[in-house]
Point group: C2
Chain length 210, copies 2
């Protein structure tokens, strides 16, 4: 994708994340990206197609990493699932704004293309988990047989919900933590989030620490 389109998408993402798709006008986007209003139609065709372009752009690179980990024979099942989880957490941390948009679009999107992208994203992630968990169960590494679908619901739900909760977490943290810089606090927050999610997985699947 050309650099000008990315420039617009980048700014659109920021503003749509905080105001929502319907709460953001093409004039808002144009102003934020410092381009003429007509450039949105010029580059994307319409506001709706800009949104579709944003989703295609951001979701493209999504599953590849996890797929590679899954096929790598050098890792154990425990290592694989924790690596995939770690990657997921870091992706959400890095693409915070996009995952906020995903969260709202999952509820209210009427756009078929976006709905299909969202559905496929979920399906692939669940199937990936399924392969990994079944493999671990066969080898006796995972002792439990939990509900696959709800595991995914919990991982994704916790991650999504955690993005909204960052500010509130600061109020709960002790003085040391709340004095951290914005970036340092973000690191701290997502590190603890990862630890929490790891412990969830460990209990759900029933495996021992390495």
């Amino acid at each position: 994708m050309a650099t000008k389109e990315e420039h617009i998408l980048l700014h659109a993402e920021q503003i749509i994340a905080t105001q929502g798709y319907n709460g953001t006008s093409v004039r808002d986007i144009a102003a934020k990206a410092k381009v003429n209003i007509s450039m949105i139609s010029y580059y994307f065709g319409s506001k709706e197609k800009l949104m579709e372009a944003l989703f295609k752009w951001r979701m493209d690179s999504g599953i590849h990493f996890a797929q590679e980990i899954l096929e790598n024979p050098d890792y154990s099942e425990v290592e694989k699932i924790e690596l995939i989880l770690y990657n997921y957490v870091n992706r959400v941390k890095k693409l915070k704004n996009f995952y906020l948009i995903m969260q709202t679009q999952q509820v209210i999107s009427q756009n078929k293309i976006i709905n299909d992208l969202l559905k496929n994203y979920r399906l692939r992630y669940i199937q990936l988990l399924q392969l990994l968990i079944e493999s671990g169960q066969e080898k006796g590494i995972f002792k439990n047989n939990p509900n696959l679908f709800f595991i995914h619901t919990t991982l994704t739900g916790t991650l999504f919900n955690a993005i909204n909760g960052m500010q509130l977490y600061k109020d709960f943290a002790d003085d040391e933590v709340s004095k951290l810089s914005e970036a340092k606090f973000k690191d701290y927050y997502f590190e603890n989030l990862f630890i929490h999610l790891k412990s969830l997985l460990k209990n759900l699947l029933g495996y021992e620490n390495k």
Copy 2:
């Protein structure tokens, strides 16, 4: 609250849940509720104040039940926390549409009153969990000391995310389940969701089955 206002709120809730606040016009609401457009201003003052009224209306009855359970000396900590969880799950099941709205507003709301309501709702729930967990830890019923904030994030996140996943779950379920009626399937889904959440809590807090 008078019955006519409730009538409007009820229909507004339905349509805002599927289209979002900004994606729903007062004409949409008026049409759905079969009232004249000007009735929205007449009864609520404005579209925004209608939204505030919806939040006040639905969130009012929220925490009372949990508070009563907490103060009841007849229950053990394990019973208390599972009762509160059960009540929470059923509330989400019953007020599905409102919790969908909550989910999106948590991300994009610019309304101070709604933001404050949402924040207080979270805070009270976390504090309630804190009291319960500390009490259980003192008595040695809860063996672990997990991150309180992230427990709440997981419970709420799982529940919220589960609302969106209901349809997808049907695709994963076996024939028997997918043949169920809409209402029966909803019962089945939320029952399994409750079991899943209970198992999460049990592992996180570290207690044994009754």
